[in-house]
Assembly symmetry: C2
Homo-oligomer: 207 residues x 2
Amino acid sequence: MSENIVWHRHSVEKNDRSVQKSQKPCVLWFTGLSGAGKSTVASLVESLLVANGRHTYLLDGDNIRHGLCKDLGFTDVDRVENIRRIGEVSKLFVDAGVITLCAFISPFAKDRQVVRSLLNSGEFIEIFCDASLSECEKRDPKGLYKKARQGVIKNFTGIDSAYEKPIDPEVHLDCTNETPEELAMQVVNYLVDKQYLEQMPAVQKFA
Amino acid sequence: MSENIVWHRHSVEKNDRSVQKSQKPCVLWFTGLSGAGKSTVASLVESLLVANGRHTYLLDGDNIRHGLCKDLGFTDVDRVENIRRIGEVSKLFVDAGVITLCAFISPFAKDRQVVRSLLNSGEFIEIFCDASLSECEKRDPKGLYKKARQGVIKNFTGIDSAYEKPIDPEVHLDCTNETPEELAMQVVNYLVDKQYLEQMPAVQKFA
């Protein structure tokens, strides 16, 4: 065995990973109506963080619904289990030291609370992507509102299923009137203000 | 908006994360009997990698069975679903650019094959922690073999449930005769040889 190797018999802990990555890991939980801009803003936040050397991962319908949760449908029971699993996976990513972005409609306050309760204080950052139903329906980027109005899609949030607005989110984004870039900066500024990004020389607070 | 900010409208991709972390992400899948040393060797491999600046995460019974898979028992159906979910989570971590260590008995070849099939070629590294049943039973670190022999635990791998040995694992460790440190070095050497660790100045091949 080489003399140069120092063996650490202790496990690598969450704090080791956090220090290694120069950041305080957390979950950025984007909630809001379909079409509000959750994925767009989350993706911009992620790009900015990665461009500045941070370590991130984005969970959304694309990589969850076709994989981990492909056995689940859209019944109430399955929706609850879907968010529970996403919460558990987010917790693993936070344990891994990663800033974890989650973009899901997640319409029910109770389910969001379940995820919050899995994490330590300060690790769950609820980001309300607030856009009016009429605005989201006008955008309708995936044509889903049209199908919901036609009755082709049932239990669609905002049409025939409720969206419970966050009462006291950590970050409240005005997704009707501001650009995705402006909104992404608000999120990053929150992280800077709250010192989630230690030793991040390339990012200053934005004016 | 600051003039200094470059907005990348493209999503952050797996390759971006891999380059950022100077490593080729993969799953190190440790399989073997209870007591063979899977977790011990995996933990040593992780410590060595992290000490050298790599980005890793270790999935094992401790962080999976009490969280993501706490709804699952030990029936055949639940065991299959347990490994499927671990495979899907491993895939997310690999997508995140992380070297992902998994330490699970995973006795059935078919289930291990399911995980391999979720990943791209070269991303699944099967590590057979090979120790004889008599050796594992002699160690019995958790007293589980004793309970299985008494019939207190049913369907225990090696006693009244089969362990299907890997036929052609990427790494075959002699966990009966070699020390955990020697075995961990064999795993790291495999990663060096196969160029999973790009630009890793602090680690040379071990003699």
